[in-house]
């Protein structure tokens, strides 16, 4: 039997999907509405899953008193109410698709000490979601 704990957070951010090495026509064809130069935004839902042994003294994999401020500091403070292209350094060179946002958030949260980061899952809208697991993260 294996246990995991998942906590759900939210952030609102804007982005524009545009690959600088592609032509204007190609960007428009590939990214469609998401290539609008003025950008657009989403209410992202972020699920963070951690695993590890239960601490017998607390009955917890990770104390939310540790996890919540860590996620706030590492991700939400940097992503919430921001323009991902302009204000998050990782997206100066990478297109802020939600796949890439998943990867960047996983990278940031991997430093969590109290438990093992197992999965990051993001709902960009209620209709699409993306996830990356520890086994996918290279």
């Amino acid at each position: 039997m294996k246990l995991s704990l998942t906590r759900r957070y939210g952030f609102a951010a804007s982005h524009r999907l545009h690959a600088p090495n592609l032509s204007a026509e190609e960007n428009k064809r590939i990214y469609g509405k998401c290539n609008n130069p003025y950008g657009h935004g989403h209410n992202y839902a972020l699920e963070v899953t951690v695993t590890g042994p239960l601490d017998p003294a607390t009955g917890m994999i990770a104390n939310l008193g540790d996890l919540d401020p860590f996620v706030e500091r590492e991700v939400l403070a940097a992503f919430d109410q921001k323009n991902l292209n302009e204000e998050v350094a990782a997206f100066r060179d990478a297109v802020p698709t939600t796949e890439n946002v998943c990867r960047e958030i996983f990278r940031r949260l991997q430093k969590f000490q109290a438990a093992h980061l197992e999965r990051v899952r993001i709902e960009e809208t209620s209709k699409n979601s993306f996830e990356i697991g520890a086994e996918d993260f290279a």
Binding site: K2, L5, T6, A57, T58
Partner: protein, 144 residues
């Protein structure tokens, strides 16, 4: 293989307190959840069974049978109960989402007559849940 999932909801109260901790330590570690008067949640439990459909019935496990198991093993034990005082399986344990999910897994595992218990997912709130899954044979996924 097909997975089927049944969902039930129960309401219960609990609080977090470790008798080996000082008052200050309990407060620091458990925060608001340490309130000795307790507090409550509407828990949502999703139980997933994995298996091959029986060719005669087309079912992995009759959902009516699963519903009866969940009623007997979980709802009758935990619904409208105080988890610290009224559930013997949780005695001596802090009734966190993780511990409750693990107890539910242990209560259900041997009761499933067709298919295998694949996952127990327990939501304490829409923003917090614990998953209990079968550990893979080689131990993959366990914390090093």
């Amino acid at each position: 293989m097909i997975r089927i999932t049944r969902k039930v909801e129960f309401s219960a109260s609990h609080f977090y307190h470790n008798p080996n901790f000082s008052v200050e330590e309990n407060h620091r570690v458990f925060g608001k959840c340490n309130n000795p008067h307790g507090h409550g949640h509407n828990y949502t439990l999703e139980v997933t069974i994995a298996g091959e459909p029986d060719p005669a019935t087309g079912m992995v496990l009759d959902l009516k049978e699963l519903k009866d198991i969940l009623q007997r093993e979980v709802m009758d034990r935990m619904d409208h109960r105080h988890l610290n005082y009224e559930v013997p399986e949780l005695a001596g344990k802090i009734p966190t989402c993780e511990n409750i999910a693990a107890v539910i897994w242990q209560l259900l595992e041997s009761k499933i007559s067709h298919g295998k218990l694949d996952r127990v997912r327990l939501y304490e709130s829409p923003n917090l849940f614990a998953d209990c899954t079968a550990a893979s044979a080689n131990g993959a996924g366990k914390r090093a």
